[in-house]
Symmetry: C2
Subunit: 132 residues, 2 copies
DNA sequence: CCACGTCGCGGGCATATACCCGCAACCCAT
DNA sequence: ATGGGTTGCGGGTATATGCCCGCGACGTGG
């Protein structure tokens, strides 16, 4: 008989982890998707929406919308590149503060999992997921 | 330095698998979330929205909306239980046909992954994800 | 038998995500 | 320089998902 496909298992696990990390990071006022995106921005800012999208493997329009939410929250700033078509994103001071304040919360969540499941297990899981 | 958290890796892998399975199952006109939900319904129909939600670990309101989409597509039918509060879901003939027709497509996607990564790898990955 | 607490739902609100269309900016070949 | 192809975005449309609120149905203690 057909067992749950890896996709279903993966989606389910993903939802659980999102909830877990969302709760951990909540005190700084963002969710894990936003925090993760801001970390990506921090590594390459200033960056255009399309370049950022390619980097994090998300649709450009998704990036655009998500960034706009962060902009409304005052965590990132949007500007224009030399190429007038390009919209560039940079973190604001408030955004950097969220990253700084959130880092230990993120580490805590990470550590809780490592403690519960073992670092080696987590390493193998990372590798397995990347292989997909 | 901080490596990507398991949550980010998981979300990314989840998106990739969703895209992969969505494409595989697309010929029958539903996405993998809908197909998966219909399979769950098939196993326990008739079932109330709340019971179904508990079973698949999704918020009741999410179930309600997703089921309504399937209803509009003519794949499930909504009814009332003895308890007049309850909304019960059952598959329609068209819904059962989608499940039947989709099964081999789903199997194909599953098999493609097994072939590429190995059954044992997939088994371990399943187990690891469930452990989260 | 009625008031109050509980349960099941629908709907509002917000985010994440993808795909498609159309516009404006850019670039290149003629 | 001009026309046509390419590129970057915004906005529309649709699904998935969670939380919260309010309503109506149930059920039980007085």
């Amino acid at each position: 008989m057909s067992l749950p496909c890896i996709c279903t298992t993966l989606r389910s696990a993903s939802r659980r982890m999102i909830a877990f990390y969302d709760e951990a990071i909540a005190p700084v006022g963002v969710n894990i998707a936003q925090f993760s995106l801001m970390r990506s921005i921090a590594r390459v800012e200033p960056v255009t929406l399309t370049a950022l999208g390619r980097r994090v493997e998300l649709d450009r329009s998704t990036i655009g919308r998500n960034v706009r939410v962060l902009e409304k929250m005052g965590l990132v700033a949007l500007g224009r590149g030399e190429d007038q078509r390009e919209a560039t994103v940079t973190l604001t001071d408030a955004g950097r503060k969220v990253l700084d304040d959130g880092a230990p919360l993120w580490d805590g969540a990470q550590k809780a999992l490592d403690d519960r499941l073992g670092v080696e297990f987590m390493r193998r899981l990372h590798a397995a997921l990347d292989a997909l």
